[in-house]
Amino acid sequence: MIKTLKPRQICFFYIALLPVVKFFMMPSLIAGICGEDLWISVLINALSDIFTIAVLYFCLKDEDADFFTLIEKRVGKAFAKAVMAFYIIFFLLKTVIPLNEEKDYVELTLYMTSPSLFTFMPVFFAIFFICAKKLRVIGRIADGVFIVSVIGYAFTFALSVSDTDVLAVLPIGAHGIKKVALGAYSSCGWFSDGAYFLFFVGNYVKGKKDGLKILISVAVSSLIVLSFTIIFYGTFTSIAFRQKFALTELSKYTTAINNMERFDFVAIFSLLFTSIFALSLPFYFACELTERLFNIKRWLAAIIAILPPVILLLFFGEYFNSIENFIINIASGYFITLGTIFPIIMAIILKLCGKKELNYAVQGN
């Protein structure tokens, strides 16, 4: 079987693409729930993702097929189809908030007046183009945007850290475990990144210490988000809860910006560029599963996957507050189930089933 991805591309995928979507509304949302303890909520989600990916890796590292193919082989077609259907919903739900916050961000921060409804439409063409490609495209995107993201992170952090009151995150745990847990629960939609690894299992060229490299890159990705969150709170402290567009705001307080104007837009546009690819990821994987589930042409699957969010954005804009509330308050449980609990349990089951198959094969010989 020809492997479509290289371990390097998976590492770049986690470092370059996944942190960016967490830089918009998420930090302010958590700050509104648990104030200076927001970083603990982020840490809980980050550790949960690292643990999920670690379990998936160690259970399925010797497999030659992805998670869904393995379920089909070892548990059954009907169950695999049901799982795919659930994951299509999972990925489509995962697209809604990042897409809307990116749209709001572009329209409210980059435009002086309210732009036309169709201004954001080109993004959907870009998403469609990515969705219509095979899995190899994810690796190529990761390779391509890695340096852009690194430039974005470096500029943003370097410019904002000097004006950060790091001690603002003290005292630790003052808001209590309930609020911290609620913060972690509400932000699950931005995390649950272990689900992406389900597609990478068995699809990459195996080499020495792959697991270590991948886990380190996931940890680096988490560290970037954690650092961003701490810098964010250290910059805005008591008004952090209402800074929805932290990405534009964070780096502008440095003296260099006062003297040389907003050259930090280099970093902002770099991250904005990466974020277009990052927000196309859940679309891509929803499309991948739609194609497999209904056995249809790729372009048709792409249209089916993209259409619901387009309709939501075009015709249900005025209901977006309710939609966001639903996703944050209710669908988060769904994200935890399919992004963390189910992959871990299923990976262990698949590992055990694999061992049994191996024993039968040995006995048969």
Binding site: Y111, S238, K252
Partner: protein, 407 residues
Amino acid sequence: MRFKEIKLVFALLGLVFLLFFSNDFGLIDIEKTAIITAVAVDLSENGEYKITAQIAVPEATDTNTENQRAQISGKGATVGAAIKNIGDTSGWFPQLCFCNLIVVGGEFTDYNLIKILDYFSKTLRVQDTALIIMAEKEGAELLKLATPLDNISSFALQKILLKNAGLNRDVAVADVKSFCTGYYSDAGSSIMPLVKVVSQKSENEKTSAEGFSGGESGSGGSGGGSSESGGAKGDAIFNANTTALFLRGVKVGELDEDLTLAFNSLTKDFSNTTFELKDVKVGVKTENFLLTVFSCKASRKVSVSESGINFTVNVDIYAKISDRNGEYSDIDYIKNLTLPYYVEESAERELKTRIEDLIRTEITTGCDFLDIKKELYRKHYSYYHVYKDNFLENLTYSVNVNFSGQK
């Protein structure tokens, strides 16, 4: 065929990103855009907000003339409504992203200023790094003035608020963000400079101002709604060395020039700031000294126990004598680098008294500009609920100041 397809795809992608990032659809005709450099908020007769926007009018000329200015006012029940009213009545789109100064009228002394400043913090149309000041009288008056050196008063004000390196750190600068974070913090305390107008009129300057206004400067030339315009040099300069203190958005007190300087020695990079010492006893005579600070290391520590809160301030200043009004000048330069004991003692006594006055001002006004409550919350959370409502009543303090020259 394949190569053509790839080229087409890249061309389309390029077009998509160009459309996405270029902001072409968001452009407004530049001839209808009023670039606001500062706004003043006052209270109108009927209780509405009156916003006066100072607009820079760029001169399309190849001669070296200064920018002109114009003022447009709008009224509304909220600050946002008043700003919108400016655009609606004048037909000019108020472009606020270059607005670096917000002046609050002196008539708002018993008013919760967050009702005004919150708009600037929430809206994306104004940078929350915009400086805020309180005028002694009407805010709009401050924008109408011109200084002998600057035609546009907001530029002159920004020069004294954000001083270049080498000048004294004698202004307690505040911006929209710092005011709002202070307001929304547990202590609910904020500060901003209180700007006073100082007249510099003299016969010579009068003549010079007349020369300017009669020569190069002309009308501001803004669109409809302009109430004031011009380019004449004025005779006013601004003093922003006094600091207004706010508790829960309401003005509760002031720090005079000496206390503002002492406050800055605790909170800002104080190097290159000069420190005046008057009537220092040198033998049987008295002399005045000017010390220049090389470095200032200040620390504030809050320690808490069952018996109360202790606030300790340590300031270690390394300075040199820049000037003295003695009858005999020093024999060599090195004498200015090592501070005589009488200068050290006098400087230490002076700064210690000012810092103690600062702490007493915090206790009497309730405005936590020294961040004692913040420290209590962050570093002594177990005692926070005990002292959060009475931390100033249970406060004891000690101040240690050390002035030294080269050893």
